[in-house]
Symmetry: C2
Subunit: 341 residues, 2 copies
């Protein structure tokens, strides 16, 4: 890597120390990592499997706050990629980490960041195998590439939903959007009159999304199409329908909201748009083969997160959106987050 003169130097660390002390332990001895001592990593794919790959880039000030707890930043950077793998029915195998540190990221920051990655990777059996660490004038930027495995031909795609397929969503929707508002200290959140525990819950949903990896076997077995909700329920639903070439309706009354979110909505009904279009949910929205609905619902009843039926896929050309109590599709000013929007 070359360098122009404005590189900021973090005092006592060396590139080698950072790799040895903080990142090598995250390989957990995985052979693919080659001890983080080579130009590249090496992945051996079991016969009759395919590799599912996903990549995000998160930048301080845009995707997270520079002063978010570093363990939470590490957790989230990996979680959002594991969520993509989960939505595709892919079992996490390993990941690459590219880190552009800024000068404020010293040893304590790195240790906490690595602990956030480590705690999540150990839950899901996924190891660091390589990457790149640089120091810049800021802001902090993190790019993770995550790798998952599927038996050949079993990846669950966005396209594939058929008219009549029931639609489901994991967990609850909109918590993270509220958590972000609280974390941003927008002045009017006091009117939601939340208890401390509710505030904590919503902020934690923003800071530490939980990738729904336990859903993977059921997605592979039953799902016709699937997407992870990163840009908001409504916008991501419309993407799934568009790629599948279908329409569809989510019933407003069936959208799963948490207790704290429901309380906010009671106090401030205008928040509905935020809840369904704010993004950052990292829940999974998917359609299931209509014939398998009963079997699917029975199978997922034992999961430790809810899976809610929310609506039905319709034919191409029909509307795609959220229907109110009157059965009509609601209009929204703002469908989902667009970085260019």
């Amino acid at each position: 890597m070359n360098k122009t003169p404005d590189v900021v130097k973090a005092a006592p660390l060396s590139e080698q120390t950072v790799i040895t002390d903080f990142f090598e332990p995250l390989t957990q001895g995985d052979k693919s990592a080659l001890g983080l001592l080579d130009d590249a990593a090496l992945i051996d794919i079991p016969d009759n499997h395919e590799l599912v790959v996903t990549k995000d880039i998160l930048v301080a000030g845009t995707h997270f706050f520079a002063d978010d707890p570093p363990a939470d930043i590490g957790h989230k950077a990996l979680a959002v990629n594991l969520s993509d793998l989960a939505a595709k029915g892919a079992a996490p195998r390993c990941y690459l980490l590219a880190l552009a540190l800024d000068k404020t990221c010293g040893e304590a920051w790195l240790r906490a960041f690595a602990s956030g990655l480590g705690a999540l990777q150990r839950v899901h059996g996924c190891r660091l195998i390589g990457g790149d660490t640089v120091v810049t004038g800021g802001p902090l930027a993190i790019s993770i590439t995550a790798f998952g495995l599927v038996p050949r031909g079993t990846m669950v795609k966005r396209g594939g939903a058929q008219p009549g397929d029931p639609i489901y969503v994991t967990g609850t929707v909109g918590d993270a959007a509220l958590g972000l508002k609280i974390r941003s200290q927008i002045p009017d959140y006091s009117k939601w009159e939340l208890e401390d525990s509710a505030v904590q819950y919503l902020v934690s949903r923003y800071l530490r999304p939980q990738p729904r990896l336990a859903l993977i076997p059921y997605l592979r077995q039953y799902a016709t199409a699937s997407i992870d909700i990163s840009d908001g329920l409504l916008g991501d639903f419309q993407k799934l329908c568009s790629v599948s070439g279908v329409g569809g309706t989510i019933e407003e009354s069936r959208i799963p909201f948490s207790e704290p979110a429901r309380k906010c909505l009671d106090r401030d009904p205008g928040l509905f748009d935020t809840l369904v279009s704010g993004g950052d949910d990292y829940e999974i929205l998917f359609a299931v083969n209509a014939d398998a609905r009963d079997a699917f619902e029975k199978d997922v009843a034992g999961l430790d997160f809810p899976v809610a039926f929310v609506g039905l896929i319709a034919k191409e050309g029909e509307d795609c959106g959220i229907a109110g109590a009157d059965g009509h599709i609601r209009a929204f000013d703002h469908v989902s987050y667009d970085h260019f929007g």
Copy 2:
């Protein structure tokens, strides 16, 4: 992706337009990309092959100048990753691109950036299959993950060099370090008295490194260890020796310098350190099985870039460095680039 309030908006583009107009053409219809319409990409690995993966992050102001020609930025971002694959004997297959744009990157910038990627990928048969595009308050950051294939067990690692193995390097060393000095307009480069064509050559070596992919079959057949030179000949040589558990000597007189670099060195002998430790060469440094030396040299004679014999691997515990005309290892103040150094 979530967003805090300081997201900068680039006027008339939408995320979808950017993907459709600039990036989808770079998939060249590769099925793995799923039309850039899914949460992830899908790579099918041929039987008895392994996947070699490498990832870099480049940030404006650190790894390149924000006002470098965008086609050159695109070229370089991909080239440095292809260089890693080449060093490992891996045939490029595809890549992921994560792009954190800043507000100055409009349509014309994106078109030129994509053209730089496109021109290089078409030469080497490597296609875009996915990634992530976001807009931030800057600076521009680019992370590429590149994927290459090797027949199982044939990846050329850094470790593996044996005492007595001859050492080779492709192309010429140090041009990019001089190009960077010229590009940075350091005041004393006028004393090098370079002709315009030499200036152009050196800057071009900095801006547009050429990954040495034609070397791949010969590395697989003959090399015992290999590294791509990104942090400087000397430092990367020491890394190769350290991982291989050997010593070794590169003979100063055999280091291949270009005519322009040699001219600079004649005028300013103090530049020697810059040439061997400045980095950004993206040439390949490797050791060859001693018994195969003649066959190897015959085989690579027809390549369209030079491959120079520069020294020999020695036993563990012996020195590792560059020997002057007197046969002694030279001392350097600064061995190679360290982001934390």
